[in-house]
Amino acid sequence: MRSLRSQMTLGAVAAAAAILLAAGAILFALIHRTVMNEFDRSLLAQLQALKSQVDVEGGQVRLELDKEMLRQFGPGRGEDYFELWDGSGRVWQRSASLGAYDLARGAPGTVRAVRLPGKRRGRQALAVFQPAMDEHDGAKPPPRETPPPPVTLAVARDATAVNDVLEQIFWGLATVIAATTLGCAAILAGVVTRGLKPLHRLGNNLRGIGEHQLSQRLDAAGVPQELRPVVDGLNQLLAKLDAAFARERSLSADLAHELRTPLFGLRAKLEVALSQPRQAAAYRKTVQDCLAIVLATQGLVENLLALVRLDAGQIAARREPVRLSALLHAVWEPFAERAAARRLRVTWDDDAATVVTTDRERLRLVLSNLFDNAVSYADTGGELCIRAAPDAAAPGVEIANSGSQVAAADGARVFDRFWSGDAARAGVGTHCGLGLALAQRVMELLGHEICVATEAGGWFRVRLRFPAAPIPIPEGRAKNLPPGLSPGRCQHEQETP
């Protein structure tokens, strides 16, 4: 795993080293150029001085040196060299320091590096010129004499000492750069470590927050400004996680209870049935009762599965024209027998021509849950009213049952999963499992609307609306509903079917 500390340290050290190297290189280049320029200037000055000493006397080209110069070019010192030759390559004179060695031939006007006797490194300058006639004795040259041919004078100087000095400067600079780089590395490592401490503290605090401490929040006090957005973001994430975990725990507990209740019902029925010998009819009755419990539990599980799939976005909606009245009657058919058994008076008010664009199967699921609720929770001998008609704004369906035990104030809460009106579970009216929650999620998916109007002891009405253009409601569904309508409460709540 890559370490941010080492990354930052290495990056900073590399940058510092690069800057130091560049600075050192530039400095060394400047020093080198200055020193060599001075060296070359001196060499060229010497060349000019020697050049003025070259003359022709009696057809002989010669370079006259005083004692000081002779010492300088003598074999003892061995630092300065000269050589004089003409266009034919004839060497007229060379310094004693050269011995039999020839200086390099080349173009005049430039100073260049050369190898000198003993393979020493040096620099050489040369000049091609017309030597002057000797006028020592004051006699003018005889007019018949032709001008002397041009000669080449080369002057060289041993640069070993200068190169040694430059080399020392180079290594000195390199040492300073290396030492500075190492020092920078140590300082930067400390600085980065210190700078990353808040991040380490943040990490330690985060590690301390487990599944059961999600209500904790990271302390923003003392956190550097740059980390504030991170801390704020993490705290928001923790809040969301906390809420999600709480929802999951609540849902799991509710689900466990919802499943435990019918399972215990099954167990009790079977244990009591087996507690003593019975007639075949009694066993048959027990089996029928158990089957009814299993079917109800299956419905709960299927609703839950559908909800989970909806939440996971695994259910897609189709669009097709659906005749509302025909669908309502088809979905109602299996519930008619139960309604009759509960002596419910069912009234229909549906317009056979009303057509909506929706997903037939998903809407069937919604209607099935609503009919199941209405038949289950209507008061025995009560009423059930089913309406399907075009509305001024959009087609709508209303399914209403009498004997509501949900107060008007709790209307919006019936869509909560496993909500129960009095904090207790019941099978007689106030309990809401998953049916309405599922209906709401499906209606959202389809872009339709669902709302509830209820009055304790009066009507419990669920209304569905199908706007011509489906409303996308991914989140915050209430804001997308038309004015005056909320997911939990319908307009005209006092209206009686």
Partner: protein, 224 residues
């Protein structure tokens, strides 16, 4: 013995009602908290089996109301809430026993019987009077070592008399503890069952155990 069962989930309620009745108890049932509280306040029950999560009136509220009104009826709480806090809360609220769903039906019956024994200060499940032995756990009756076959109703009547042995029990009390609330009260049905019991318990040579206190009721004791 007379039991009040308050449970909202219909399949469970109907089954427990049937099973308890088959176990020899007289059972009244209520499907919600309001009806349950009304019945608990109105009737004389030996044990109330109370589900905590009820519509209209919560089980804890029923328990609190019973205790506030000074009703000492033994209450067995049934619930799906199984945490320690839930149990402590229930027992502190005045419950006599606590049973977490799901449970074995036999355990429920055993606990109800234990509560009935506590009701009559009898720790031993075997009631003895002279040479009469009643095993309330096995629901068997023997006299002088000879097993006696009784119907469920006869057994319930004998167990009630035995639990109040030495005390005169009125016909009304017998009715309240042996028969269900909805049962039609017939003027001589208690007398008829007493007659059945006497015929089965008493044998020539053995002293009668059930005695009539004219104008008051009946008493189960060795000597009349």
């Amino acid at each position: 013995m007379h039991i009040l069962l308050i449970e909202d989930y219909a399949p469970t309620r109907e089954t427990l009602e049937q099973g308890l009745r088959e176990a020899g108890f007289a059972v009244d049932a209520a499907a919600d908290g309001r009806a349950g509280l009304r019945a608990a306040m109105a009737g004389e029950y030996d044990v109330i089996i109370l589900d905590l999560m009820l519509p209209l009136v919560d089980g804890m509220a029923i328990l609190g109301e019973l205790r506030r009104k000074g009703r000492q009826t033994h209450v067995l709480v049934l619930t799906a809430k199984d945490t320690l806090e839930d149990r402590v809360k229930g027992l502190n609220a005045g419950a006599d026993d606590y049973l977490v769903k799901p449970f074995a039906f036999k355990e429920l019956v055993a606990r109800v019987r234990a509560l009935v024994r506590r009701q009559y200060q009898a720790k031993d499940p075997v009631l003895r009077l002279a040479d009469l032995t009643i095993d309330t756990a096995a629901r068997t009756v023997a006299r002088a070592g000879r097993m006696i076959g009784l119907t469920a109703r006869e057994y319930a009547l004998l167990e009630f008399l035995a639990s109040r042995a030495g005390t005169v029990v009125t016909r009304t009390e017998i009715w309240e503890h042996v028969y269900e609330f909805n049962a039609m009260a017939e003027s001589n049905v208690v007398d008829v069952y007493i007659g059945h019991l006497r015929r089965k318990l008493d044998r020539p040579g053995s002293p009668p155990l059930i005695h009539t206190r004219r104008g008051h009721g009946y008493i189960l004791q060795k000597d009349g």
